[in-house]
């Protein structure tokens, strides 16, 4: 038997962030067992420390030459390192908001932080996955942690229902994805992305192989669309967003999108890039449906978490539109869009969490009436986020939409761009409705909102980043464009 297996400890150094994170997960898990209630905050600080060190280790690997280890199943390139830095960074921000929410709703448990770290590990595995098996394992590590995180508020039946719904639909999506992987494996004879790519790029590939590759591709696209929450595979998104505790909604709506995008790039661009003609049509249909359904259905929502869910669906449509173009700059624009979306969404959920008073979820849109009088600063942050999500110029959300549309137009899809703009204008209505509630309506309750210093500080930085990066977007844009 030919076995080209080599094992060198030095070669494992490129996986140092993952190794460190897994070790610290196990250590934090054990430490948390022995903590008395007096020191239970230690779990939170240890989690932040572990995530920070993981981020720094990933940051140091930026610029490292492209390396493939573990027999072609783990890749370290610039995209992987940069995404890992963003994943750990945004998870740290999410954790600051999360702790406030958990303490308010007496959900604070050590397992919560361990599960978040495991989800981060799953995402890092996905980002670095270079074989279908590794990508799938990463996805399952992420999903399993998220299912548990949703159900962690087990006394709320709506949360348990959301977790179960997500679990069942996630299992179906995994099944479809695996079926697609098995077809691609069956015809190409390998699960490594590089081998599949070589097989698909081979000019002597016959029509039968293309047919079966295409057959598997359809299931792969469905599986990815399920995970991204694109229409018509979006049914779980609003229910899960509404049912999950707000801190979990924030986490699952932001960071995993980066990992899902990375998986999309690895499978469809790195692996099946030569099949672009086949999957771009699917993507075109998925993205137009997502943009239209996401924009129109959100108009009727009264629950802000459901509204943000539909807004996410329409953002996902824009992200997928970047992949329709089939050029590297279009993919770069999609990456830029995802990073911007994470930044905006974190701030939006940060404000929602701050407005949660003890045991009370401020998840109705009418809860935002007269917010500018009670707490002008949070209202201002929310104003920035909403304007940015609507795509109003000085803010970062404008540039993300603009760069996608620019690429779409230059690729020749002018009608598509016009449709996207029309629905973006329609969606501006519900973003502006919140601003109207905050600034022009009278509050029916009269209470000032108090929040600890750390969350105020992080939220202010988060909000102002939306403006600052919006004024100087070229740096983030250059990073996004250089990754592929």
């Amino acid at each position: 038997m030919t076995n080209n297996f080599s094992f060198e400890i030095n070669s494992l150094l490129v996986a140092l962030p993952e190794i460190f994170l897994l070790s610290s997960i196990v250590i934090v898990l054990i430490i948390d067992l022995f903590l008395t209630s007096k020191f239970r905050q230690a779990t939170y600080y240890l989690t932040q420390l572990s995530l920070m060190v993981t981020g720094i280790l990933s940051f140091n690997l930026i610029g490292h030459p492209e390396t493939v280890i573990f027999s072609n199943s783990f890749i370290l390139d610039n995209m992987a390192s940069v995404f890992k830095v963003f994943i750990t960074g945004s998870s740290m921000v999410a954790m600051v908001y999360t702790r406030h929410y958990l303490l308010q709703h007496s959900l604070y448990r050590g397992e919560y932080f361990v599960l978040v770290m495991l989800a981060v590990l799953g995402m890092m595995v996905m980002v670095s996955g270079y074989s279908m098996l590794t990508l799938y394992m990463g996805l399952e590590i992420l999903s399993l942690s998220l299912y548990t995180l949703i159900a962690i508020a087990r006394n709320r039946s709506i949360a348990v229902e959301a977790a179960l719904k997500y679990f069942v639909l996630g299992a179906i999506a995994s099944g479809l994805l695996l079926y697609g992987i098995s077809m691609v494996y069956g015809i190409s004879g390998s699960i490594n992305i590089s081998d599949i790519s070589a097989f698909a790029h081979d000019p002597s590939i016959n029509s039968r192989d293309t047919l079966i590759l295409n057959f598997g591709l359809v299931f792969l696209v469905i599986g990815i669309a399920f995970k991204l929450g694109a229409v018509p595979f979006h049914m779980w998104v609003p229910d899960v967003y509404e049912g999950a505790p707000t801190s979990v909604t924030m986490f699952l709506s932001t960071v995993p999108k980066i990992a899902a995008l990375a998986m999309l790039v690895r499978i469809l661009v790195d692996g099946l890039g030569s099949m672009h003609d086949y999957w771009s049509d699917l993507f075109l249909a998925l993205s137009l449906l997502s943009i239209s359904v996401g924009s129109v259905v959100a108009l009727m929502q009264t629950n802000i978490k459901r509204m943000l869910a539909y807004s996410t669906i329409s953002h996902v449509g824009f992200i997928m539109l970047g992949f329709v173009t089939g050029v590297v700059s279009g993919y770069g624009a999609a990456i830029f869009y995802v990073l911007v979306y994470v930044l905006m969404s974190l701030a939006a959920f940060g404000v929602i969490i701050i407005l949660n008073n003890k045991g009370y979820e401020a998840d109705q849109i009418s809860d935002y009436k007269g917010l500018s009088k009670n707490s002008p600063w949070f209202a201002l942050v929310m104003l920035i986020v909403m304007l940015s999500m609507a795509g109003v110029p000085p803010f970062i959300g404008f540039y993300s939409k603009f760069s996608i549309l620019q690429e779409v137009v230059s690729a020749g899809f002018i009608t598509v761009a016009i449709i996207a703009v029309v629905f973006a204008v329609i969606s501006a209505y519900y973003y502006l409705k919140i601003i109207k509630f905050m600034y022009f309506d009278e509050s029916d309750k009269d209470e000032t909102i108090s929040a600890p210093m750390d969350i105020k500080l992080i939220l202010s930085i988060n909000g102002s980043l939306i403006l600052v990066v919006g004024l100087f977007p070229d740096r983030l844009m250059n990073i996004s464009m250089s990754l592929l």
């Binding site: 076995n3 495991l118 990463g138 590590i141 942690s145 047919l211």
Partner: protein, 204 residues
């Protein structure tokens, strides 16, 4: 027809029939038993493919452990049959329609034209001393060591998740406190109450 072919069609028929019966059965316990039968048929098919290890594992782990546990769960939950079937007929037409379209489209691709013996050659049979397990182990602990470790992480999550969701410190639980039992005093156990003597009225 060779004997192997007869076996293949027999196991395949069982597999499909028991899977259908699992879905259509009204009794949840029967569904679980039909699922066990379909696991057995799948394991037999794998044996025909010379994947002995996988076949045995399927029976040992899924039939032996998972499904037996599942049967316990079903017996404990006592699910109301009518709630399960409430929307079945309502969703039946659209579900059936979608299923027929998907099956028709898939059968266009997954036919003899693409997977016939003239296109895909028959796999070569291994000698009788060929060890499936050795081959698997060689691959699993060398080339696939990274996914193997990740599977371990997945199991860790499953443990954490199960404990997080199920474990709840129950205040009503009657736990034995040994410390309290040892330190107890005679006066804690016996309470002497002085009651004034009296006679029942009808004895007078």
């Amino acid at each position: 027809m060779e004997f192997e072919q007869i076996l293949f069609y027999l196991f395949s028929f069982w597999f499909i029939a028991s899977s259908l019966a699992m879905i259509l059965s009204r009794n949840t316990a029967f569904s679980a038993l039909f699922l066990i039968l379909s696991f057995f048929s799948a394991a037999s098919l794998w044996l025909l493919l010379e994947a002995e290890f996988l076949a045995i594992i399927l029976i040992l782990v899924y039939v032996g452990a998972v499904m037996v546990l599942f049967l316990f769960v079903i017996k404990m939950l006592d699910i109301e049959d009518s709630t399960l079937r409430a929307k079945f007929t309502g969703y039946l037409p659209i579900g059936l329609g979608v299923a027929v379209i998907v099956i028709a489209e898939m059968s266009l691709v997954l036919g003899v034209d693409q997977f016939g013996l003239d296109v895909v050659p028959q796999p070569i049979r291994h000698a009788s001393d060929y060890s499936n397990i050795t081959e698997l182990a060689m691959e699993l602990y060398t080339i696939y060591v990274y996914p193997f470790e990740l599977a371990a992480v997945l199991l860790l999550i499953a443990i954490i998740a199960a404990i997080t969701l199920i474990h709840r410190p129950d205040k009503r639980a009657k736990k034995q406190s040994i410390e309290e039992q040892v330190n107890t005093q005679a006066k804690d156990r016996v309470r002497l109450v002085s009651i004034a003597p009296y006679k029942k009225k009808d004895e007078q």
